[in-house]
Amino acid sequence: MGDLPPDPEPPPQPTSSSRNSEVSERRRSGEQSRPQPTVPEEVQQIPLDAQILRGSRETLSNQINRGWSQGASLTSNENFILQAEEAQRGGIEYPSLNTGFPSEVQPQTYPSEGRLQASHNASLMLQQLQQGEGNLFQQLESAYQEPRADLLGQYTRYEREDVQFSQDTQHGPSLRDDAALPSSPSELGFMPFTTELPEPEPRELAVQSAKAYLLQTSVSCDLSLYEHLVNLLTKILNQRPENPLFLLESLNRTTQREWFHPKLDTLRDDPEMQTAYEMAERQKALFGRSGGGGGEGEQEMEEEAAETAVPNIMEKAFYLEQAGVGLSSDESFRIFMALKQLVEQQPIHTCRFWGKILGLRRSYLVAEVEFREGEEELEEEELEEMMEGGEVMQEPGEEEGEEGEEGEEVADVIPKPTWKPPPVVPKEESRKGANKYVYFVCNEPGRPWVRLPHVVPSQIVQARKIRKFFTGFLDAPVVSYPPFPGNEANYLRAQIARISASTHISPLGFYLFGEEEGDDDEEGGAGRDSYEENPDFEGIPVLELVASMANWVHHTQHILPQGRCTWVNPLQKTEEEEELGEEEEKAEEGREEVEQEVGPPLLTPLSEDAEIMHMSPWTARLSCSLSPQYAVAVVRSNLWPGAYAYASGKKFENIYIGWGHKYSPENFNPSLPAPVQQEYPSGPELMEMSDPTVEEELALKAAQEQALEATEEEEEDEEEDEEEDQDD
């Protein structure tokens, strides 16, 4: 700090009030300078260098000026007071921001305020005298002659400032910077004429950077050190505990905890409804219209009045309510809004509310959607990548089988199992068969819609064998035997496919086949798989709809036992398999011929459906027998409890609300695991036999001994004979 030139120029006086305060300081210093004899003892406690003092004086003047320009800063005198108070309380650690001041300068040893002031003032004055700045001293004296009336007023103001600042500990950096300065503002009262502001910028920059550093928030939470210390100090000052230094640690921890867990008043209601508020917020977004309001509102309404893909859910809800089925009206409305949101987000051609599948923890709302032409390819690729991970696993199985055949010829190799996994049935193309529509699910209206992947035939086949409840989380695993290839999203999709195929019906004549193109011979007679709406449909009277099941038809394709709607021979060699080729031909001979599977064609009436236990799989009712002229025909499935269809005039709709399982009169019994497979084929070089039991071994041994005895006897006989012969 000795670099600062000792400019004896007066620093600018920003306000007259500050001048007055200087004057008042002078006045105080004047008053307190009287008890000088007592002071020198304390003065000697301060080992100051002249240079340091000079530097300190100058910096202090800078700070004071800066402080005065801010209008609210402390003078160093007040700083000292504050420091003393804080020292007594011990609540603040001393900052290390003192730029170059020796620590001895810090007023930790000063016992009282008054004496502090006095001593400092006196010390500075003494030092001044020592340094022989007599001019200043004379100036001081001259200033001392000024009228006192003002000074008294200023003095009180000064006092007030003092009190004010002693309570406000939050005045950060300038406070800390001023902390160690030994010089008094009273002396600086003289200073204005001597020093200028040499370089305020680096000081300011340092302060600002320090404050910025303190204000930065940590990565894990929103709290910054500055805020935390502010909270801590406020808490301490409010509570004024007895021994704050000892309690510092616990106070610190309490403050931290309270930031994250605000204490609740037991007399007031506690905020338990957090989840409810969040849900309401989310649903509020549903009700907002997209785009701006105001002037654009009219245009949007016109656009929306034109055809959109969103179906008229409220009308359907009304009819379903007549039928005694369905969700409450506000839930239906929310679903309507959610579907509208879905249509806005995705490129959708047609959309329909398929139904609701209940789950253990949460339920699923399912929307059946058809994309516009060409739009869905992008998303499909992503989904396929996800699924390929599962399918690739099946291919190595076949390769291992091939190696096994070659390996058997080499000796001392463990024979490979001959079980080969059954050939994978390829999934259907999108927009065909079971994958005709794309399904989106969400848990509640307001939550984002998630797209379900296309269904694979093996998933349908396995889904027929198991019975599991849905938990409500799409990524939950499905643990079952036989093992289900996929997670809950796949299982959900498979059940949706089965339900759609079984229970989507329409009145006879609503849909007709398109132009016949002689497609009876395609792919083994799978039949036509497309239909169109009939523009001439007149509607069937409700009574007739109820009376006979022949008036309703299925308009979704039946799913074959294979898991697809159109049959595919899994043994047909694709191009890849042909390359691997001729070696496999030997193995193929052992495989059975697969028969083609045939299902009922599209648009078959319900009267053709198979019965369950001598009962019709459908139940038809009028919604209200008391007023048949306005009633709605309701058909309920007995095979899939929860599937309903209604028809009235030209309108009809299908819906499913239920748990997603098929009806079975018996309780569900999971299938038992398959018997343990035989490991090795019995061949000439390898024959498995069970070990002989102990009895068998003993019997064998006995038999062998008998045989031996018999041969020995024979030999003896022969010898005897020979001897006899020889004798003769």
Binding site: E272, M273, T275, A276, M279, A280, E321, Q322, A323, G324, V325, G326, L327, S328, E331, K356, L358, G359, L360, R361, R362, S363, E444, F469, G472, I612, M613, M615, S616, T619, S623, C624, S625, L626, S627, R636, N638, P641, G642, I657, G658, W659, P665, E666, F668
Partner: protein, 265 residues
């Protein structure tokens, strides 16, 4: 559902997709009042509906002053005319366990079931095939009883036991708080307690004898037989019995202690 709060309860129970059409609702409100007057019940509850092939049964139950006393069950096919059902016996339960499949909807329909029964004729013992006929009414009674025993649920605090024995509705019950409603231990089976006497003294020490006189749902086996799903966080979470036990049966916690059920088969 109490007929006083029928409409509100129906709204709240609609999450499972089962509801009543407006004409049924109107006729229920009217006819239940009449039933209450005629049979002199203290409370009449709409129990629910059992779906049949030809017709559906609408079931109501009437309670006397003592809430846990055996209730009288009535059924109706059109929500207007109600007929009393006989009380359930164990023999009925045994018979109905043989019958499977949907309900017909005709109360006089008879299910036939062939059984091998040992017939003692003098000294000979041989098995004979006997055709047992079970009326649908019997089956109905027994099924309702089984469902009630398995899944009738009531929140803790809705009923209290007076020192003289009878159990009354607690008029100061304001419903469960959100945090209590999420716990299974705050719901009881609405039937005579079975497991209560098996509890240890330590467990019993924590119980309040005026409120905790029924079995709690906590200790039901299988563990997940009642699941909680807070359908709409603004409403109470509803414990719904796992459908393996009783397909399609939902309970809803309602304000002052009424229970809501709706069943399908």
């Amino acid at each position: 559902m109490d007929e006083e709060s029928l409409l509100l309860s129906l709204e709240l129970a609609s999450g499972s997709g089962q509801g009543l059409s407006p004409d049924r609702r109107a006729s229920l409100l009217t006819s239940l009042m009449l039933v209450k007057r005629d049979y002199r019940f203290d409370r009449v509850l709409f129990w629910g509906r059992i779906l049949g092939l030809v017709a559906d049964y609408y079931i109501a139950q009437g309670l006397s002053e003592d809430q846990l006393a055996p209730r009288k069950t009535l059924y109706s096919l059109n929500c207007m005319e109600w007929s009393l059902l006989p009380p359930a016996t164990e023999e009925m339960e045994m018979q109905t366990s043989m019958v499977k499949g949907h309900f017909m909807g005709d109360p006089s329909h008879e299910y036939e079931h062939t059984e091998l029964q040992k017939v003692n004729e003098g000294e000979k013992v041989f098995e004979e095939e006997v055709v047992v006929q079970i009326k649908e009414e019997t089956r109905l009674v027994s099924i309702i009883d089984q469902i009630d025993k398995a899944v009738a649920v009531i929140p803790r605090g809705a009923l209290f036991k007076t020192p003289f024995g009878p159990i009354r509705v607690n008029r100061t019950f304001e419903g469960l708080s959100l945090s209590e409603a999420k716990k299974l231990s705050s719901y009881f089976h609405f039937r005579e307690p079975v497991e209560l006497k098996n509890k240890t003294l330590l467990e019993k020490a924590d119980l309040d004898p005026s409120l905790d006189f029924m079995d709690s749902l906590e200790h039901d086996i299988p563990k997940e037989s009642t699941c909680h799903s807070p359908e709409d966080p603004q409403r109470a979470p509803r414990p719904c019995a796992m459908p393996s036990e009783a397909p399609g049966s939902d309970k809803l916690r309602m304000g002052p202690g009424c229970e809501v059920k709706s069943h399908i088969f």
